[in-house]
Symmetry: C2
Subunit: 218 residues, 2 copies
DNA sequence: ACAAAAGTGTTCGATATACACCCATGT
DNA sequence: ACATGGGTGTATATCGAACACTTTTGT
């Protein structure tokens, strides 16, 4: 009748054209040596979101966008007994170097598409997180948390393409993004390799709040 | 480090033009005498969905559509200590008479719009459930679980209007529903009061599965 | 001159919205 | 005949999809 409650974090970040997920290699049983999601026990007098923030901070040293995903409690999912985990989705605007963790042998970012076999039911949790992220990208303006403060429109498009795993038409994409009226041109240019420099944009927090109130942004 | 885990059920059903929610009056402390969501502890070796189904069955005597909503674990949300609750959304196709429950003084259906003050953080949970239900109605074909097997198009429209709390245009509504291609006309007619009888429709399970695979139905 | 990525408009089909009258039945 | 709710079509606006060439820069 009393179960243990953990939080597990599915942290995503973009590296080049690939969506990456943060995994830790377990030092102890169960699943010692196996890769798994970062996470841990919810402490006494700690809220769920609070625990998730703490775990994310412990593993990466950074804060990021966090949202609760789903709770998993199938009997037998943890060999130690009845453990219910509250899974969280985290979005980071860069790929931080993972922090050394006392009960992890190692921790690394893996491309979502080529991740190792995981312990517990963590494959299922990541699949669920990827699906949620795709939905957020399809229906809302969720991309911002995965990008730095200033970015080119082509970066934004690459973010969408990495998440949706499908090419997008450049002209339609730009038209749509600009029509949402949440981007502001900074006037600054950035050059990437040997080609024409592109304009840097920022997200407008105010415009964004308007969208959010209409349910079109996270 | 070990918390207690409960499930709470937000069970909705339609009565006339009103969306109703099932509440129980608590017999014991905390919040004795107050209305609250039906729910209870997750048992040893019981999955979360399983616990939710059991609780729903215990309170209503019926099964229904169930989906996990969100987990709530704010410290202090339950005076007895660290209690994390996994909230579930239940949709029933009629308003069953609540089952007598040993630790409830009473249980009743209330219109969502005029419900009593609730114990714990259950107001918040219901608000969340209503929002989720609206989203499901806006973006998917979720209405079916709230209706009997056969219904008139006007019943379907009433269901949407009750949930969305906004009038819909009859012609556009019918056109859209029929174009989704998940309704089959039975040929049978039904009369409601003194007026022209209307045709009864059913949902097509096969067509429905197609929609579902495209993410357009639950 | 060429390679590489940035930038730019128009057409077409599909979908959502607005809107008003006739029909079948019971009293 | 009238009250009640069932049933029907068209015109317009909006949104997403398809599609190709020019510009700026570095080598």
């Amino acid at each position: 009748m009393t179960a243990t409650v953990t939080v597990d974090i599915v942290a995503f970040a973009l590296q080049g054209d690939q969506l990456q997920v943060l995994l830790v290699q377990r030092k102890f049983e169960p699943f010692a040596g196996r890769w798994a999601l970062p996470g841990g026990f919810v402490l006494q007098d700690e809220g769920l979101d609070e625990a998730a923030h703490r775990e994310l901070l412990e593993e990466t040293g950074v804060q990021g966008y966090l949202e609760q995903l789903y709770s998993f409690g199938r009997p037998g999912r943890d060999p130690r007994g009845q453990v219910v985990t509250i899974a969280y989705l985290a979005l980071l605007d860069h790929v931080p170097t993972p922090t050394a963790d006392t009960d992890a042998a190692d921790s690394r970012w893996f491309p979502v598409k080529s991740r190792p076999e995981l312990g517990f039911d963590h494959q299922e949790i990541i699949d669920y997180a990827v699906e949620r992220l795709r939905n957020k990208f399809e229906y809302t303006a969720a991309s911002f948390s995965l990008l730095p403060a200033r970015f080119m429109l082509s970066d934004l498009q690459r973010a969408y393409e990495a998440v949706l795993e499908r090419p997008l038409d450049k002209r339609n994409f730009r038209k749509k993004m600009l029509s949402l009226d949440i981007l502001v041109a900074t006037g600054a240019l950035q050059q990437r390799g040997i080609s024409r420099p592109g304009e840097l944009y920022e997200f407008s927090a105010e415009k964004f709040a308007t969208l959010r109130s209409k349910g079109l942004a996270f």
